[in-house]
Amino acid sequence: MASKTKTFTRALFAATAIHLFAAPAVLAGEVTVWFWDTKFNGAAMQEAANRYKAVAPDTTITLVDLAKADLETKLQTQFASGVTDGLPDIVLIDDLRAQLYLQSFTGSFEPLNGAIDHSQFAPYKVAVATVGENIYSLPFDSGVAGFYYRSDILAEAGYAAADMTDITWDRFIEIGIDVKAKTGHPLLSIDMANAAPFRMMLQSAGSWYFTPEGELNLVGNAAFKKAIETYSKMLQAGDTLWKPVSGWAEYTGAFTGGEVAAVPMTGVWITGTVKSAADQAGKWAVAPVPRLDIEGSVNATNHGGSSWYVLSSSAEKTEAIDFLAQVWAKDADFYQKILVDQGAFATFLPAREGAAYSSADDFFGGQTVWKDFSTWVQQIRPVNYGIFAGEVDAAILAQLPAMAAGENVDTIIENIAAQAKSAMQ
C-alpha cells in the first residue's frame, strides 16, 4: 500500500513538474483568440478557422473560451500590469465597452482600417470602434433590436401583425395592458438591474448619454426625458403590464416557459434562446422594435453585439490581420453558414445578398426574419457609446424606485446627472 502510494505520488510529481515551473512556448504561426460562448462566438470562429486553413495551411488558430466577465477581468489585469506575455492575438470585445478599452488602454489595440474595408460593414457598428482617424474592429455580430412576440396569444387578444408593426412605446404599453387583461400573459418582463431599455430608447432617437464630444448629455436631452417618462409609465403600470424578473435565467425562463408573451427589448442574438422552446414553434413572430414618441425616433435600435480586435502586443499580428481580412471581411458564404448553424447575425453587408439571409423560418410562422433584421440593421442610428456608459447605467438604476413612485421626472434626471457626474472622473 505504502509503495503504491509512493508510485502514484511520483507519477503525479512527474506529470506535474512539466507544468509546475515552465510555461509552454507558443508555436510560431499560432494565432490565439479569446472569446466567450463556445456555441455561438466559438463555433463561428471555428468555422472561420477551418476556412482559413485553405488559405494559409501553416497558421493554426487556437480558441480559448472564457466567460465574458472573466475575459474582461483577464484582459484588463494584463493591460494594467503592462505584462503582454500570455495575451491573445485576437480578442472579442463588447461594443458597449469598446471605447472604454480603446481610450483607457491607449495603444493596446491595432488599427485595422489599412487592412480592412470598413465600408462593407454596417455604419453604426463601425462608429463604435472608431477613435479619430482609426478604426480598430472587425465588426462581428449585430445587436439589432427586434420585438419578439407570441402571435398566437396576441391573436387571441385581437391583435394582428400589422397592429404590432412600427408602433411607439406608448402604444406598446396600451397593447400590453390590454393583452394582460384579456389573456393573463404579460408582454414584458422587467429586471431592476438592467439599464439596457434606456440605452435602446436613446439610440432609437440617435441620442445618447453623452454628446459626440463625450460630455454628459442628460439634463435638457429631450430623448432622455422621454425615455425616463416612458419607462416610469411602464414601472407604474406594475402587475397590469409586466412581470418582475431577476437575472438571465429567470428572464429567459419567463418566455421559454410560455408565461411572458413577448420579448420587446432585446437583440437578434436572443433568437437561439427563443427557438430553444421547440414546443412553441410557429407561434412566434418578430416586429420592429417600438420607437419613442418623439420627432426623430426610428423603429430600429441596438442592444449588445461584439467585434473582434487585434492586440498591438501580438507577435502574430500579420497572420491575425490576414486571417480577419481573408475570411471575416471577404467570405460572404461563411456568413451564410454561421447564420444557419449558429444564428449569428453579422454586420458584413455583402452577406445580405446570400440565400440564408432571405430564407423563411417556420418557427416564426414562415416569416423571413433575417431579411427583416437586415432591413432594420441599416436604420440603426450611429452613436458614440463613450467611455462612461457603465457609470450612467448605475446612476439610472439607482433612480428606478423614484420612477416607480412617480416622482418628478426633472428631479430624477438631475439626480441621475449628479451621480453620473461624480462618478465620471
Partner: protein
C-alpha cells in the same frame, strides 16, 4: 428518558431536520437539473429526468474533463497539504512561543488578511510575470500556502491545547519538533480535520487568481469551466449542472470522510 428530555429530543430532530431540508434543497435541485434539458431547468422542473447521459456527452464534447480534473486535483492536493502543514506550524509557534513582539507581528498579519485580494492582484501578477512563472501550477500555489487565515485558526485552537501535556513531554526528553509532531498533531486531530476541509474547499473553488495566471486551455480548472459554461448567451443549465455537480462532489466527499474526526479528542481522556 424523562418526558422533558423526550420533548427536547424531538424538538432537536425537528429543528435539525428542517435545517437539513433547507440546506440540501439547492443541492437536490442541482442533482435534478443535471438530468433535465435546458428548457426544463429554466421552467423549474423539480423531478429527475432522462437527459443525464445527453448532458454528460454534451459537456464532454465541449470540455476536456480529464485534463481539467487533473489540474484541479493537483492544485488542490499540493495546496492543501502545504498550506495546512506550514500554517499550522506557524499558528502553533505564535501561540506556544508567545512574546509581545510576536503578538504585534500577529496583529499586523491580521491587518494584511483584511486587504481585498483585488487590490494586490495586479502587482502580484507582475511579480510572477517577471519570475517567468505565469501559466504554471507554482503561480497558483505559492501565494496561498502561507494562509494567515489558517495561521489564525490554529493559534486560536491551540489555546485549548493543554500545557501539561507539553511539559510532560519535555520531561520525557522530547524536543520541540517531536512535541509538535507526536503530541500536538494527534491531540488536535479535529482541528486538522476542520482546517483540511476548509483549505481543500478554498483550493478546489479558487477562482480569481487562477483565472488571471492560467493562460492556456490545458491549464483550466473546473471552476473556470463552470464559469465559462454559464456565460453563454443561451446557457444550457442541464449541462451547467453536470459541471456544477462535478465541481461540488469532491469537497462533499472530503467533508463526509473528515467529519468523523469531529469526535472527542484525546484531551478529554488525558485531563
Amino acid at each position: 428518558m424523562s418526558p422533558v428530555s423526550r420533548i427536547l429530543r424531538s424538538a432537536t430532530y425537528l429543528g435539525l431536520g428542517l435545517a437539513a431540508l433547507i440546506s440540501v434543497f439547492p443541492f437536490y435541485w442541482m442533482l435534478v437539473s443535471m438530468t433535465n434539458s435546458a428548457v426544463e431547468v429554466a421552467n423549474g422542473k423539480l423531478t429527475f429526468g432522462d437527459q443525464l447521459i445527453a448532458n454528460f456527452q454534451s459537456l464532454l464534447t465541449e470540455v476536456d474533463m480529464v485534463r481539467v480534473l487533473f489540474n484541479s486535483t493537483v492544485i488542490t492536493l499540493f495546496g492543501t497539504i502545504l498550506t495546512v502543514a506550514l500554517s499550522s506550524a506557524a499558528g502553533y509557534g505564535f501561540e506556544i512561543f508567545r512574546s509581545r513582539f510576536k503578538d504585534h507581528l500577529f496583529s499586523l498579519l491580521l491587518l494584511m488578511l483584511s486587504i481585498p485580494f483585488g487590490a494586490m492582484m495586479i502587482p502580484l501578477f507582475v511579480m510572477f510575470a517577471k519570475a517567468g512563472l505565469l501559466n504554471s501550477f507554482a503561480a497558483i500555489l505559492l501565494p496561498g500556502i502561507a494562509s494567515i487565515f489558517i495561521v489564525f485558526y490554529f493559534r486560536q485552537a491551540t489555546k485549548a491545547f493543554p500545557h501539561e501535556l507539553r511539559d510532560a513531554a519535555r520531561i520525557d526528553g522530547l524536543n520541540e519538533l517531536q512535541i509538535f509532531l507526536r503530541i500536538y498533531l494527534p491531540v488536535m486531530r479535529s482541528t486538522y480535520a476542520a482546517a483540511t476541509v476548509i483549505v481543500f474547499m478554498a483550493n478546489w473553488n479558487a477562482y480569481l487568481w487562477p483565472l488571471i495566471v492560467l493562460q492556456t486551455n490545458d491549464m483550466k480548472t473546473i471552476t473556470l469551466v463552470v464559469s465559462s459554461l454559464v456565460s453563454a448567451y443561451n446557457p444550457n443549465y442541464g449541462v451547467v449542472s453536470v459541471a456544477a455537480v462535478i465541481a461540488t462532489l469532491p469537497t462533499c466527499l472530503v467533508f463526509f470522510i473528515l467529519q468523523r474526526s469531529f469526535v472527542e479528542g484525546l484531551t478529554g481522556g488525558v485531563k
